[in-house]
């Protein structure tokens, strides 16, 4: 049985972003296809279109040369397209078998026989009658796969399947996927991990900014060549002047820091070591979900660690919460500006009061000093050219760029010694991006330090003095920015190594 799947001229436009721009791809059974790209490259949108979750604005999907309509996930099931999402859709308290029988119309005995056949055929070892919550992540994923296999899928789509798996489970998964492929199932494998593409897949399509930029056989590719295609070579050559910080004083030192999370979707951090000098900008690159969130929270004090693991200006601050760290002149600009850095329902001056420490006198003897906060807010609005002077305005009426200016302004107006920012220009227009970049360069020139965690490599290469890459919760060697190329970053971000 041969299966041919073709997407033709698919476009999907979200407000302010073209997620898929005339994407055309062809797949045939017997092969494993990789869909490779950075976050935001458009691969998830394409997959959601194929599984009926999202409807394309334009374009068609053909299965065996017949045009098919995928208006809902049900349509995808009817057309024998199976999908395993990155986050599992299982009822934790129900047994494995109950989970499988929920969306099956077969009789229980029939279904059990079928499932047992599948278990035997692919050598899966799962007890069907224990609750799903007792399974490991790898086993849960197998349950999801079995759920697809019950329906005799022609196409099986795996969305970043290894992000929650251990090395051993990953190896097992690859063996199974190769077996499925032999049995005639067309497999589309979505990932940003370069090594996996090379070890598993036959063909690879690379997406960047909504477009397919290359389709090739994996035999012809190397980690470097894929990294190049994924990251793109259109580098902005204007760089900050890189200084020599050998003599300047060390301001922050993190030594042997470990963080283990209870949440399987969070990333554990292993043996982090870094140091930062006065006036320096340290860039931390990486594909999102590799521990950036956790690292930011450890720096900001939202996650508290051992006291001795973080030294800031020769003081142990690991145990301090964000407010206490601000007293030591640290400032933080989180990634999520809409629901974390600021509250949209609050007025501008109330959002300004979030960055409050003793000398600001926003709250005297526990009472709100509204006058003081408003004066301070007015100063931020004018100093950081936010396009309003009304401090009573609710923050939800500010554009993303103006909101980010307000947040950066709020953090910087207190002249902190260190600013930690996480994707500060995410989703902003060019004007706002330039403004933020100039501001970040300026604070370094004033002898203040910064840590820039970002998924935008252009930004990192433009602003950093030194750069390292975070991958699966581990930091790479810290390199001088002038010795780093986009290609090198791409390899490290995809889990490769350079000498």
């Amino acid at each position: 049985m041969n299966t041919k799947l073709k997407v033709s001229e698919i476009s999907k436009i979200y407000p302010g972003c073209i997620a898929n721009d005339k994407v055309s791809l062809e797949f045939g059974s017997g092969k494993i296809y990789a869909l490779l790209g950075e976050n935001g490259a458009g691969k998830s949108t394409l997959v959601k279109i194929l599984s009926g979750v999202v409807k394309p604005d334009e374009g068609e999907v053909f299965l065996n040369d017949e045009s098919i309509k995928l208006n809902s996930p049900l349509d995808a099931k009817k057309n024998n397209i199976g999908m395993v999402f990155q986050h599992f859709n299982l009822f934790e308290t129900l047994s494995v078998f109950e989970n499988l029988s929920i969306d099956s119309n077969k009789k229980d005995e029939e279904l059990r026989a079928l499932v047992n056949d599948i278990l035997k055929k692919y050598n899966f070892k799962i007890d069907l009658d224990i609750p799903v919550l007792n399974l490991s992540a790898g086993q849960k994923q197998k349950v999801e796969i079995i759920r697809c296999l019950i329906r005799n899928p022609k196409v099986l789509i795996m969305d970043e399947p290894t992000s929650v798996l251990t090395e051993q489970e990953t190896d097992d998964l690859f063996i199974s996927l190769k077996q499925f492929s032999k049995d005639g199932i067309l497999i589309i494998y979505i990932t940003h991990k370069l090594k996996e593409v090379l070890s598993l897949c036959d063909e690879v399509a690379v997406m960047r900014k909504g477009k397919v930029v290359s389709v090739s056989n994996t035999i012809d590719e190397k980690i470097e060549s894929l990294a190049n295609k994924m990251v793109g070579e259109n580098l902005n050559t204007i760089k900050k002047k890189i200084n020599n910080f050998k003599k300047s004083e060390e301001i922050l030192k993190i030594s042997n820091l470990n963080f283990t999370s209870d949440d399987p979707y969070e990333t554990n951090l292993n043996n982090l070591n870094l140091s930062l000098k006065k006036g320096e900008c340290l860039g931390i690159a990486g594909i999102s979900g590799n521990g950036q969130n956790e690292l930011f929270q450890i720096l900001s004090g939202e996650i508290i660690t051992e006291g001795t693991s973080i030294m800031f200006r020769n003081k142990e601050i690991g145990k301090l919460n964000p407010k206490e760290r601000r007293e030591y002149l640290m400032a933080f600009s989180p990634e999520d500006r809409i629901s974390q850095a600021a509250v949209p329902e609050l007025k501008i001056y109330e959002n300004v009061a979030l960055n409050n420490f003793k000398s600001s006198n926003f709250f005297e003897k526990g009472l709100v000093n509204e006058k003081k906060i408003k004066e301070h807010s007015k100063k931020i609005l004018s100093n950081f050219s936010v396009n309003t002077d009304n401090v009573e305005l609710k923050s939800q009426f500010l554009s993303g760029g103006n909101l980010q200016k307000l947040i950066i302004g709020r953090e910087l107006i207190t002249s902190p010694e260190l600013l930690v920012c996480f994707n500060p220009t995410w989703g902003l227009d060019v004007g706002a991006i330039n403004y933020i970049h100039e501001t970040l360069i300026q604070i370094n020139e004033q002898g203040k330090s910064s840590i820039l965690i970002s998924t935008d490599n252009d930004e990192l290469l433009k602003l950093s003095d030194r750069i390292c890459v975070i991958y699966k919760g581990k930091l790479s060697k810290i390199m001088n920015a002038d010795t780093v190329s986009a290609e090198k970053l791409g390899i490290l971000m995809g889990g490769g190594s350079i000498d």
Partner: protein, 357 residues
Amino acid sequence: MIKVEKRSDVSRSIYFLTPVLAIFLTLFGGGIIFFILGFNPIEALKFFFITPISDLYGLSELLVKATPLCLIAIGLSFCFKSNNWNIGAEGQLIFGGIVGGGVALLFYNHDGFYVLPIIILSGAIGGMLFAMIPAILKTYFNTNEILVSLMLVYVAKLLLDYLVVGPWSNPEGFNFPETRQFSESARMPILFVGLRIHAGIFITLITVFLSWLILYKTYLGFQIKVSGLSLKTAKYAGFKGKTMIIIVFMISGACAGLAGVGEITGPIGQLHRNISPDYGFTAIIVAFLGRLNPIGIIFASLIVALTYLGAETAQIFLQVPKYTGQVFQGMILFFLLGSDYLLFFKIKFLGLKKNEL
């Protein structure tokens, strides 16, 4: 195709007007129920909502009922505003009543101006301590405060039952399940001769004012507001989340305890099995009907108090069970939540697109 979308901006005046709309819808719904039961709806609603407050005694009764409701709802607003779901105000009220009542019994043969303040204070402390149980379990053991606070209501009820039947029952009471009458100096002063309205109303009004001050003018209030809107932001700003949970529960419990002690030293004058007609639960409706706003809660408590009185009048004149009051309270909450849904979301009816046919 029907699509539900979040509205981008909700006007503030409409936000405070929807509770009024909910009340009118409740009247309409109540009218229909009375009609189905075979009454003239206008007449029945008149018995329910007008007759009870058509004389001075009725008005005084309204305030007597509204006093505890308002007090508890004000306390609950601290919890609800910061996303802490204290459902156990009834238990905190009863426990406050038990502690305050215990102290009142200790002083049963004492006279003096100091007796009443001590009783009131101990009642507030009782409610506060009882509310700290779910708060501490939540902060240190990650338990669900809804379940714990709700279950503790039954603990408090059974404890009260045990006390009034057993150790605290009136030695001269012919085994009735009740304690001694409290001494005169342990009773709330009556404001007007012949009416039941008592000085507890001043405690409520002072509490309303203090709450307004705390919620809108202090750092604590600011922290409560931010935590209620976004816990992520509260964490990022470095607010001490655990301490705040305990503080809001303490405030809430103290208010419920005050309400309890106000009941036993006010209209009741002793401890018995039924010191509260579920004021603690009904106050949840009051808090939401009043939009968690101190002034709103004052109005809401008067309206909900009226359903208590209306139910009693309706029982006498229309021979319907007094539980009709709870039907009305339920309808208010139902219509309020319903109109809130339409306030925050809009429903779009989309025609079928061509490619779907």
